[in-house]
């Protein structure tokens, strides 16, 4: 079980803005094991977005080491980084970022289009599997405009799952959703973590979201100020049950 997916040592990232050097990340070290569910917390300016960009191989550290699944990403070219993102990572964004006027299934299979290994048939099968995992198999041919916010985010999660990544990175993934839908998404993420053993890194600034994760890293001014194992993990399913019953909002359907 002690399989290290992320190993970060003395990571620094600095930007020079108007001649002034800003240390977005200053000597950060931590590692993530397979099957963990981590929230990264911090106020804006704490460096959590920079950390997420580096974790997501979208940005490179100024110094320090980042091993993703045993691969040192500092040595890689842009194209190799793109390949790494394609095969090892899954992204879930706050604003879903689905392609407009494109069906759910086509959105989900998008990452596989950038991978030569999959045939058209395999692509479709994997996309269907991923949509089943997020319980949207009845909405496969719906366009994003025909789906509710929660459903769109589930399509986005399916897209993040489709390439069997070693880690799913979620950036404020519940930020655009109401609390009930947020809990539904959290429930889905918890299920993916518990039942399928997916490693999840969830960036947020909402403390109650952190309660659902197994571990919380808090950043401030580019440094880790807290790295705690959550002793009392809340179950999103339980929270949902306790919510006062509401009439399910009528979701758009064909």
């Amino acid at each position: 079980m002690n399989e290290s997916i992320v190993d970060i040592k003395n990571l620094k990232r600095q930007f020079s803005i108007g001649g002034e050097v800003v240390h977005a990340l200053n000597n950060v070290s931590f590692s993530i094991q397979k099957g963990e569910f981590i929230t990264i917390m911090g106020s804006s300016g704490s460096g959590k977005t920079t950390l997420l960009n580096i974790l997501g191989c979208l940005d490179k550290p100024s110094s320090g080491e980042y091993l993703l699944d045993g691969i040192n990403m500092s040595d890689l070219s842009k194209t190799a980084l793109a390949e790494l993102r394609n095969t090892k990572l899954g992204f879930v964004f706050q604003s879903y970022n689905l392609l407009a006027r494109t069906s759910a299934i086509e959105n989900v299979e998008l990452p596989l289009l950038y991978n030569n290994k999959f045939s058209t048939k395999e692509r479709k099968e994997k996309a269907i599997q991923a949509l089943e995992a997020v319980k949207l198999s009845d909405r496969m041919y719906h366009l994003p405009s025909q789906l509710s916010g929660g459903q769109q985010q589930r399509v986005a999660i399916a897209r993040a799952l489709v390439n069997d990544p070693v880690m799913i990175l979620a950036d404020e993934a519940t930020g655009n959703l109401d609390s009930r839908t947020s809990y539904e998404i959290m429930m889905l993420i918890q299920d993916l973590n518990n039942e399928q053993g997916k490693t999840i890194v969830f960036v947020t600034h909402e403390p109650d979201i952190a309660n659902f994760s197994k571990r919380t890293i808090t950043l401030k001014d580019g440094k880790i100020i807290k790295d705690l194992i959550n002793p009392t993990i809340q179950s999103a399913r339980e929270v949902l049950k306790k919510l006062p019953p509401v009439i399910e909002p009528v979701t758009a359907s064909t």
Binding site: N53, G56, L58, D59, K78, T79, A82, E83, R85, N86, T87, F91, F93, N97, L99, A100, R101, T102, E106, L110, P111, L113, Y114, N115, N116, R159, N163
Partner: protein
């Protein structure tokens, strides 16, 4: 990155923006169609001019008197009476490159058959005139050299004369028609020749022995033109020089003076008129080419707008594993697919337009393979050229910036 996947990605992107893609294509469609139809019209008129002039007899040479100065006054060509029977005899004396020779004298007037009449030209010629012009006698037979000697009142009539003087469909052979109150016996009917390049009706003519027109109608001894044919098409130039030398000698023109006649060959006519229509073709093609260029700029414009508008999409694609090269290819393929689809539709549209032009307004057209291939190639190059910079711009986006773009 598999090419088929790139095509699939590009095709889906085009299809997501059907209307815009079509409007972008429209520039290319119109450009290609314009190039093809304009070149077809230009080539068609060029070919028709060439074949019509060649149809007049490509080895034909014409001598006509030219304006000369008489007592300080430039005189009208027709009133110059410099071509005589002496010239004919001189030209007939052992020519090296000449075959047939026929003088020509024309008179206009009313021709009458009973209650029908028609205003036409009566042209007096030798029987050889028919061979020079490659005119055929459809019914009856041509007149002979004997008829020329005796100034016989016989004639050959063109199709226009036939329809106007014999509208009932009677056979005109052996009948008499009157021209300037002189009765002429019709001995033959000329085959239909249609209009010439200059819009003249070549069937509106009566041919008769040259002496008949000279003696019985105009009362002159000179000729208005002399028609000759070279022994073959290649020797036309030599024949024309030979004619000039013989004529100068015959007219006793001292060295250093101008000719009092002009010698023209069909080849000159062909080159003059094809040069004109070549210029026309080039002009049309340039205008059409400009519209193709504008179509290309349209693609570039749309692709630029599209890159900006789809910045977030590009960021997303990069975050899920598209490399810069993938993005570059996607946008380049989009541009190429748009321009090639536009090109294909343009070729179809251009050919259809050309056919319609021929069908409805009867302009001669000629679709050449080269014009189709050329415009299609230009179209492909346009797609690559104008699609490259927007695609490059897209590929160089920073995924983090692009994802944050609103």
């Amino acid at each position: 990155m598999k090419l088929t996947n790139l095509f699939r990605i590009a095709w889906r992107a085009i299809f997501r923006n059907k209307m815009r893609s079509f409007l972008t294509m429209l520039g290319i469609i119109i450009g290609v169609a314009a190039v093809i139809s304009m070149i077809a019209i230009g080539q068609g008129s060029k070919q028709s001019i060439q074949s019509q002039i060649a149809g007049m007899g490509s080895n034909m040479i014409t001598i006509r008197p030219i304006s000369n100065v008489m007592g300080g006054v430039h005189v009208d060509n027709a009133s110059v009476q410099s071509l005589t029977e002496d010239d004919i005899l001189a030209l007939k004396k052992q020519p090296e490159y000449l075959k047939d020779i026929s003088p020509s004298v024309s008179a206009r007037g009313q021709v009458i058959n009973g209650s029908f009449n028609w205003n036409t030209t009566m042209q007096g010629v030798y029987p050889e005139f028919l061979t020079i012009r490659s005119w055929l006698v459809q019914d009856g037979s041509p007149f002979t050299t004997r008829d020329v000697k005796s100034a016989a009142k016989v004639c050959l009539i063109g199709q226009t004369i036939l329809t106007n003087l014999f509208p009932d469909g009677d056979s005109p052979l052996g009948k008499n028609i009157r021209f300037k109150n002189i009765p002429f016996k019709i001995i033959g009917v000329l085959a239909k020749k249609g209009e010439n390049t200059f819009g003249q009706d070549q069937d509106d003519v009566i041919l008769t022995p040259v002496s008949t027109v000279q003696k019985r109608i105009l009362a002159i001894t000179t000729y208005q033109n002399i028609f000759l044919s070279a022994i073959n098409e290649e020797s036309t130039e030599n024949a024309s020089l030979e004619v000039q030398q013989i004529m100068r000698k015959s007219h006793n023109l001292p060295v250093g003076t101008d000719d009092d006649f002009s010698v023209r060959t069909q080849a000159e006519l062909i080159s003059t008129f094809t040069a004109t229509s070549s210029i026309l073709t080039i002009l049309l093609a340039v205008i059409a080419g400009i519209s193709l260029l504008v179509g290309g700029i349209g693609i570039m414009n749309i692709m630029y707008v599209s890159v900006t508008e789809r910045t977030k999409e590009i960021g997303l694609r990069m975050s899920i594993g598209a490399s810069g090269a993938d993005i570059l290819w996607q946008f380049l393929i989009e541009a190429i697919v748009i321009s090639i689809t536009g090109g294909i539709l343009g070729v179809i549209f251009g050919i259809t337009t050309t056919k319609l032009v021929t069908y409805f307004i009867h302009w001669p057209t000629l679709i050449t393979t080269s014009s189709v291939v050329l415009s299609f190639m230009v179209c492909f190059v346009t797609g690559v050229f104008f699609g490259y910079y927007p695609a490059l711009k897209a590929s160089r986006l920073d995924p983090i910036e692009a994802l944050r773009y609103e």
